[in-house]
């Protein structure tokens, strides 16, 4: 009886309320972004697992490594020279006003090695390498090549994505060393030649303020940024929306998303680093 009572009013209001007939549920704001984020992390996990699965695609890795390195080395060097110079000039003029010109070397070195170098590397890797990876995977996806691969029992993540992510990571790591050196030399040159700084003061403040953990964290950042750039490019490339135009959009988005993620992760890493590693000069 009570069952009937409960059912009858529901029965009357059934037509508008039945699941099929209900108007589309108002999307919760941010739910789409959350879903995308979740799938991005799922891909990152899958890649991390697949890295250790045999057989390793060595050939693909070398090809991708060579490709990414070849499109990033020259621009990275060309960007890092003026960047080191700008920091040297800016910091130099500030410290000159404060009367602490002898510390220019240390300041510019820390700025270049810890912040500028990993970011330059990551921006170039994602802009030059990541966009190419995204476009490549995207066009393969819409041509059903990845479906074909999966049908043949070959995992596209293991066969294509893992070598690419490893390539972006290792190129980032190595490129970061080069950019650090070139940027520091650029800063040195501009400080000594243009601002009349003394080589001895530059070098001594360098070793007074900079320490090895600065280099370690710089390389760690480059590694993490390379991973992010590779994963985001692969993720957007594997999920293009709606045909060839979707691939273009995906490339665009992959670069923008990577940039935003990079700056955010950089902030977090820097914050953690400053908390746990005591400054040398203090």
């Amino acid at each position: 009886m009570s069952l009937d009572e409960r059912q009858s009013p529901k029965g009357e209001s059934e037509p508008p309320e039945s699941p099929e007939m209900r108007a589309p549920r108002a999307p919760v704001p941010g739910l789409g972004a959350l879903r995308q984020t979740g799938r991005l992390f799922a891909l990152a996990l899958e890649v991390a697992r697949a890295i250790f699965r045999r057989p390793f695609q060595f050939r693909e890795f070398v090809e991708q490594f060579w490709f990414i390195a070849s499109v990033t080395i020259l621009p990275a060097a060309l960007v890092s020279i003026p960047f080191g110079a700008v920091i040297a000039l800016q910091v130099g003029s500030l410290t000159e006003q404060l009367g602490a010109q002898s510390f220019t070397g240390g300041a510019s070195v820390l700025a270049v090695i810890q912040q500028a170098s990993p970011l330059i590397v990551a921006l170039l890797i994602s802009g030059a390498g990541g966009s190419a990876i995204c476009a490549d995977l995207g066009s393969r996806t819409i041509r059903e090549e990845l479906d074909a691969m999966e049908v043949m029992g070959v995992s596209p993540v293991q066969r294509l994505v893992v070598p690419r992510v490893l390539a972006t990571m290792s190129v980032a790591l190595l490129l970061n060393g080069m950019v650090s050196v070139v940027g520091t030399l650029g800063g040195y040159f501009f400080n000594i030649v243009l601002q009349g700084g003394t080589p001895g003061a530059y070098l001594s403040s360098f070793s007074a303020l900079a320490q090895l953990p600065d280099l370690y964290v710089s390389e760690l950042k480059a590694l993490v940024f390379g991973f992010i750039a590779g994963i985001v490019a692969a993720y957007r490339g594997l999920n293009p929306r709606g045909g060839p135009k979707g691939v273009g959009d995906a490339v665009n988005q992959s670069v923008v998303i990577t940039f935003m993620l990079l700056f955010f992760v950089n902030m977090v890493l820097t914050g953690i680093y400053l908390q746990i590693v005591p400054p040398k000069g203090g």
Binding site: S139, D147, A148, E150, V151, M152, G153, V154
Partner: protein
């Protein structure tokens, strides 16, 4: 011998759009089946669901005890090695030559020596008639050639189950006839279970042992070819005659009003000419007869009582002429040449 594919209660939607629901059928081991359907009824989606590329919301696809729709990813990958799938436009790897494309599954899944790979690949290239083009990139050849190369790649691992997505689209009638013959010959040679998705009536009427049809979000029918070929179902009748009259409209399906107007406009009983059941293709001379034929005869004769009278008559007519040796080619009316 091929493997049986059992589909149970499969339902697939994209977002709020239901493609088909509650599709259940069994592809008998080693036999050739054709899935018909107007464009846009989800034939390709069905194919991709069987192989586990798309995940239906409900139902199972059982192959050797593995559920391709909801099983473990690792099992699915293993089971896929039993498959050969020929994509609609070949889906070749654009950066590799035809030879490398066709050799890809061998290099990934076997430890064969390069010389042996070369032998197998060239053999398959010869079967599909692409000798001389093996060094070309997929971008440099015609659509029909890409399709045939896709078929060669699907065949290279000696699959137990072969799925073909519209093997005829983009091919001229002669090449379509060759592909039909090729598919039958293949079945005779490797005895694989085959499912062909098509809307080509020539392939549909000459190649398969079994036929099914998808329409209006569901499976209209699936069974021995005679059942569908003699079916009086309006959708099937319209499709097989290629007529504009019937439930299939330009935009997937006609609405009730158009149908009613059509029915009113029909003057009395102008019957369609009776459909003739064309005999099935036989394997090319020199090949062994298809082993599936004997199995199918057994199976179909066993289910005879449950079939509609027209289908029963057609089946009896099919098997009447062949006597005790149904597997032998019939050299009748000069059709075998």
């Amino acid at each position: 011998m091929g493997i049986e594919v059992k589909v149970e209660g499969l339902t697939k939607s994209f977002g709020r759009q239901n493609i088909w629901q509650d599709v259940s059928l069994t592809l008998p081991a080693g036999e050739i089946s054709v899935m018909l359907g107007p464009s846009g009824t989800g034939k390709t989606v069905f194919l991709k669901s069987i192989i586990g590329l798309l995940k239906p919301e409900r139902g199972r696809v059982l192959i050797d005890g593995v559920d391709m729709a909801g099983g473990r990813e690792r099992d699915i990958y293993e089971t896929r090695k039993l498959f050969g799938l020929m994509f609609q436009d070949g889906a070749l790897f654009g950066s590799m030559s035809l030879f490398d494309n066709i050799a890809f599954p061998l290099r990934e899944h076997t430890r064969k020596k390069e010389s042996e790979i070369r032998r197998i690949v060239m053999e398959r290239i010869d079967i599909v008639g692409l000798l001389g083009a093996e060094g070309k990139l997929p971008g440099e050849i015609s659509g029909g050639m890409r399709k045939r190369a896709g078929l060669a790649r699907a065949l290279v691992l000696d699959p137990q189950i072969i799925l073909c997505d519209e093997p005829d689209s983009g091919l001229d009638p002669v090449r379509t006839a060759f592909i039909s013959q090729l598919l039958v010959d293949l079945n005779a040679q490797i005895d694989a279970t085959m499912l062909i998705v098509t809307h080509n009536l020539d392939i549909a009427s000459t190649v398969p042992d079994n036929m099914g049809m998808l329409f209006r979000r569901g499976l209209v029918t699936f069974g021995p070819r005679e059942v569908l070929l003699t079916s009086e179902e309006p959708v099937v009748a319209q499709f097989l005659s290629g007529s504009v009259e019937g439930p299939i409209g330009m935009s997937e399906e006609k609405d009730a009003a158009t149908l009613a107007a059509e029915a009113a406009g029909r003057t009395g009983d102008e019957e369609r000419p009776p459909r003739v059941i064309v005999p099935q293709l036989e394997p090319s001379p020199g090949l062994s007869p298809r082993r599936a034929v004997a199995r199918r005869r057994e199976r179909v004769l066993g289910m005879l009582d449950g079939l509609p009278p027209a289908a029963r008559a057609a089946i009896e007519a099919t098997y009447a002429g062949s006597g005790e040796e149904p597997t032998l080619a019939m050299p009748s009316a000069g059709s075998a040449s």
